[in-house]
């Protein structure tokens, strides 16, 4: 039986190329890359021409990806990751709520909706704290709040941006080594983990900011925490970010359109292959 996989994308990153190459190497897979900038989604027509068995959502844009997935699911299609998982992972505040509901250790978080209350809220977690936009990746606009004066300046600057930046999501700054851990969960398996080591002169660990990827052993604690966090957000193909706090691991976010260009060479784990296997098995089940 031939399995028809469609990959929805916008920008072709290293990851999209690797997934395409892997899928096209399979004799039992018919693979179609679909640029979401080219599609028209007819909400009134369930007999859509998108007749693939499964869709892999790889849009680089959070909002385009979310709404595309929502419509495809409405039309009865199977999308990985599904809408509920994506909407939770795409929003750091909703992710925190999901972790707290399941009792998963996560940094102490406060939320406020005005400049004055945000400044008071920081006192609740104490300085130094961190301000994060609830949407976004790659460390973009993640700011350290080191003292009241710099916090005021940073909070004030957010008032000039889109109103979503007035949802002030503030977290304690966890005492961690200059690295964090990214684990990769595909279905019910933790398939790889890396340390992300902050680049010199940078406190954020994102590899997009020059952070270095080094292999990390999947300890029982990492495995348990990764699977719990994946389950909390609804499961799928996920990247779990966690920090080594003095009291053990704390999970701070889960990513739903995982990048692995640094993880594959660092760990030797063939993540594109595992993604295609997961899609094939999901259709077969």
């Amino acid at each position: 039986m031939t399995i028809k996989i469609a990959m929805l994308y916008e920008r072709v990153r290293w990851e999209e190329k690797a997934i395409k190459k892997e899928a096209e190497s399979r004799s039992n897979v018919e693979f179609t890359p679909i640029n979401i900038l080219d599609i028209i989604l007819k909400l009134f027509d369930k007999g859509t021409s998108l007749d693939h068995d499964i869709f892999l959502q790889r849009a680089i844009s959070l909002f385009k990806g979310l709404y595309c997935t929502a419509i495809l699911e409405f039309l009865g299609k199977t999308v990985v990751n599904d809408f509920n998982t994506s909407v939770t992972c795409g929003d750091k505040l909703l992710s925190t709520l999901a972790f707290l509901r399941r009792g998963i250790p996560t940094p102490k978080t406060v939320v406020a909706f005005s400049e004055a209350s945000a400044l008071k809220a920081i006192e609740e977690v104490g300085y130094p704290a961190i301000l994060k936009p609830i949407h976004g990746s790659w460390g973009r606009l993640v700011a350290p709040l080191n003292d009241p004066l710099s916090a005021k300046a940073i909070i004030e600057s957010r008032l000039m941006l889109h109103p979503i930046h007035q949802v002030f999501y503030i977290q304690e700054r966890v005492k961690r080594p200059p690295r964090d851990i990214r684990s990769f969960v595909i279905g019910d398996q933790v398939v790889a983990a890396i340390y992300r080591i902050a680049a010199e002169g940078e406190w954020r660990t994102n590899t997009s900011l020059g952070g270095k990827a080094e292999p990390c052993k999947i300890t029982p604690e990492i495995e348990e925490m990764s699977l719990k966090a994946a389950e909390a957000v609804g499961g799928g193909i996920l990247g779990i970010d966690m920090m080594e706090s003095p009291d053990g691991l704390v999970v701070h976010e889960v990513n739903h359109v995982i990048e692995f260009r640094n993880t594959v060479p660092a760990t030797g784990v063939n993540i594109p292959k595992l993604i295609v296997d997961y899609l094939v098995n999901k259709v077969r089940r």
């Binding site: 916008e10 072709v12 395409k20 900038l37 959070l62 990247g239």
Partner: protein, 57 residues
């Protein structure tokens, strides 16, 4: 396949298996170019858009 860099007009070699949405770097000027159309073996590129606020993983 070959295409002209819209930034520096250099002639760039594009891999045959290129697909729409791929970003290639002009070896002459370093501009990041996005492939936006492939028709009858003709590739069209434009200077790639900068990172958007909701981009990510």
């Amino acid at each position: 396949m070959k295409v002209e860099c819209p930034e520096c007009l250099a002639e760039i070699e594009v891999p045959d298996d290129v697909i729409v949405g791929e970003v290639i770097e002009c070896p002459e000027c370093g501009a990041e170019l996005e492939v936006y159309e492939i028709k009858e073996g003709q590739v069209k590129v434009r200077v790639a858009a900068a990172e958007e606020e909701d981009w990510g993983e």
